[in-house]
């Protein structure tokens, strides 16, 4: 049952690699995504039992992240079909104008599906070694996705991604070894049972060697934190997110970063069970605040809108680490925020893809009047900004507010103040870019000219050359619309089953709501 969740996308990936016709690969992608969502829904209802001596186990926390990945992947699969249909063999680069080609569509689809399988394995793994293998597999499966457009900037991004994440994952391996040392009890009687399954670690948490356990947490936090994009280990993230195809950015940001967060949550729960929760919480709060600060600094004056969204991911990962570190009400808030962030950021990256396809530039000052240019994407872009920046009535407002309340309840006044200031700075920085892009005359690409000249041009070129509204494809707007509806609904009304699930997830992590 649990194994089927991983096997279905893996098999679909193998089928896709073998296919010759692009349309067949697209059909496989869509079918596999729907099957995966169906299986996930079934798992939500049934609640499958652990298998393989606890190596595979799906608890509430895993279920939250699994559903989130599955829904986001389905949305991205629908978008990908539209995206791949319009790929031509040679494309002009949007920044430097040279022509470039891209990889085979079937390979792209296959890697997407392998990526899904690896991420699913992270959520269903009940063994820390297996989680590590799965996270390593996500790196390998997603590297070819980032390098889909064959040119030098995407290659640079891929190289940085591979090198930095591999070093991070190696550090996490060392952390696993440390944890094994902490868990080894010197009894050679049970040589063949693993001490590193979550259930065994949680049951015997009291007997773990404290020094080794703390050292292991630091190593695992640094290792998986690299993958999660926590500052100061985030440096691969803006490059990879800005150079990858938008649909890949959406998956990286909305699903992959959460997988790394889940791995950290697993280790955190062990430390909490061992009575060292204060130590790990403290580290999480510090890294969370650092990420918020770094994101705020780099978002001010950021001209590339995809990089801006990438730094926003750093910010939100910081918020999540902060929420988990604070615990209490903030722990529940963090779980809700993970869901909200995935939906909102996934939607924004997909919209960014639409904007990029229509305007052919990532430089935001050259883009104006999206509302009149793209009748659906334009307004949604604004909605997405409000959602990601945490304004009511969206779900992010609720979750960010819960984390704030948690910080105040636990007597961390300074943390709360810092958090609010960072959020404020980021709101203004993003707002300036997004509002300028959304309103104004469509396509008035006059960043360097003086006011008078641009007005003259605008007057002389009144009706005939004014860019027309672009008719948008259903493939490219259906997913962002659905995701927007999800974020809005989470702000107005959270279904009781979801609330129970999130509460159980927060409890499993060790932060009692």
């Amino acid at each position: 049952m649990i194994a089927a969740l991983v096997l279905v996308p893996t098999l679909a990936a193998l089928v896709s690699f073998a296919l010759r016709r692009p349309w067949a690969a697209r059909a496989v992608l869509l079918a596999a995504a729907i099957a995966h969502t169906g299986l996930t829904a079934w798992a939500c209802v049934v609640g499958p039992a652990p298998s393989m001596e606890g190596w595979l186990a799906l608890d509430a926390t895993g279920l939250v992240f699994l559903s989130l990945i599955s829904v986001l992947f389905l949305a991205c699969a629908v978008y990908t079909v539209g995206y791949l249909r319009h790929q031509v063999s040679q494309m002009a680069d949007t920044q430097e104008g040279f022509l470039f080609s891209h990889g085979r569509q079937a390979t792209f689809v296959g890697c997407l599906l392998l990526f899904l399988a690896a991420m699913t394995l992270v959520t269903v793994a009940g063994h820390l070694g297996l989680i590590w293998v799965a996270i390593e597999a996500t790196t390998l499966a997603s590297a070819p996705l980032i390098y889909f457009h064959r040119h030098h900037r995407s290659l640079e991004a891929t190289w940085k991604y591979l090198l930095i994440c591999s070093v991070g994952i190696a550090v996490a391996m060392l952390g696993n070894f440390f944890l094994a040392v902490a868990a080894a009890r010197g009894d050679s009687a049970q040589v063949h049972t693993s001490h590193l399954t979550l259930s065994s670690l949680l049951n015997s948490a009291g007997q773990l060697d404290k020094t080794w356990l703390k050292a292991a947490f630091i190593l695992l936090l640094v290792g998986y934190g690299t993958k999660m994009g926590l500052a100061p280990m985030h440096t691969w993230l803006p490059d990879a997110h800005s150079e990858a195809p938008s649909v890949v950015s959406a998956l990286l940001s909305g699903a992959l970063l959460n997988c790394a967060l889940l791995a950290i949550l697993r280790v955190h729960s062990v430390l909490v069970a061992a009575g060292e929760g204060a130590f790990s919480s403290q580290l999480l709060v510090i890294l969370g605040l650092t990420s918020l600060a770094v994101a705020a600094v780099f978002m001010v004056g950021q001209m590339d809108f995809k990089r801006m969204l990438a730094y926003s991911s750093v910010e939100h990962m910081g918020i999540l680490a902060l929420g988990v570190g604070i615990g209490g009400a903030a722990g529940y808030g963090a779980m809700l925020h993970a869901v909200n962030h995935s939906m909102a950021k996934g939607m924004l990256f997909l919209l960014a893809g639409n904007v990029l396809a229509a305007c052919r530039t990532k430089h935001s000052p050259q883009i104006t009047g999206l509302v009149s240019l793209l009748p659906v994407t334009g307004p949604l872009w604004l909605v997405g900004f409000l959602a990601i920046a945490g304004s009511p009535p969206f779900g992010t407002f609720m979750s960010e507010f819960m984390i704030l309340r948690g910080a105040l309840d636990s007597g961390r006044g300074w943390v709360a103040a810092f958090y609010l200031v960072a959020l404020g700075v980021i709101f203004v920085a993003m707002g300036r870019v997004v509002l300028a892009m959304t309103y104004g005359r469509a396509g008035a690409a006059t960043p360097s000219e003086s006011e008078a000249v641009s007005v003259a041009i605008a007057l002389s070129a009144e009706a005939p050359t004014a860019p027309k509204r672009i008719r948008e494809q259903l493939w490219s707007i259906a997913s962002p619309l659905a995701l927007a509806a999800c974020v809005l609904m989470l702000g107005l009304w959270q279904p009781p089953p979801l609330q129970n699930l999130l509460r159980a997830a927060a409890q499993a992590v060790g932060v009692r709501p």
């Binding site: 293998v133 030098h152 891929t158 090198l163 190696a170 060392l174 590193l196 803006p238």
Partner: protein, 214 residues
């Protein structure tokens, strides 16, 4: 077997210093291979009284992959990519060595609290493992070429392997995961990427991979 473990530990330290002090790419690759050979012996000496087939298999596979296959691939990549045979460091070799000595001090300091009760083993193994990891990181950040970055990554993994095989080998499958997945998958993909970098840019200097920044 403890004296022999000490000898290996000292040789590993010397190999690390040689890596930092050399200016030739081929010597770097050779040193990594030599290090891997030494590492192959660690699990055998460490658990000499309770040798199992699994332990011998791990040691054999590790030695074959890291001491023979990967150095051969790296040498071939270096030859096909052409370019100079120097490592082209960002910081001078003397300074690299000095920093290396400093790192050794740091790893001795860090290993202090990480004592393990019971089990007779060389007290040098933990600091040497940490030192090797740090040298690997230093090579990654202080050398220009993509290929030397891969070398640094391999050295770092050697350090992690020392640790895993010496202390975490009781845990089923954990060490195998580290050996197989990490070494094979990551480096093959990296090798592929190096190939693309060289085709795209006609060089493999990562300091020119600097378009993307803020």
């Amino acid at each position: 077997m403890e004296p022999w473990l000490d000898v290996i530990a000292v040789l590993l330290i010397l190999a690390n210093l040689r890596l930092l002090g050399t200016s030739r790419l081929s010597v770097c690759i050779q040193t990594v291979a030599a290090q891997a050979l030494l590492l192959g012996a660690v699990p055998l000496l460490m658990h000499a009284d309770e040798l199992s087939a699994r332990l011998i298999a791990i040691a054999a596979v590790y030695t074959v992959i890291k001491a023979i296959v990967l150095p051969w691939l790296l040498r071939r990549a270096a030859r096909e990519l052409g370019g100079t045979r120097e490592v082209e460091p960002f910081i001078g070799l003397t300074l690299s060595l000095l920093v290396g000595m400093g790192l050794f001090g740091v790893s001795l300091f860090l290993a202090g609290p990480l004592k393990r009760a019971g089990q007779g083993h060389s007290g040098l193994l933990i600091p040497v493992a940490l030192f090797t990891i740090m040298v690997g990181l230093l090579v990654i950040i202080s050398r220009k070429k993509a290929i030397t970055q891969v070398v640094g990554y391999l050295v770092m993994e050697n350090g992690i392997y020392v640790f895993g095989v010496a202390f975490a080998v009781q845990e089923p499958l954990l060490v195998e995961m580290g050996v197989l997945l990490d070494v094979l998958a990551a480096v093959f993909v990296m090798g592929l990427t190096i190939y693309h970098i060289s085709r795209e840019f006609d060089h493999i200097d990562t300091d020119r991979l600097s378009t993307l920044k803020d």
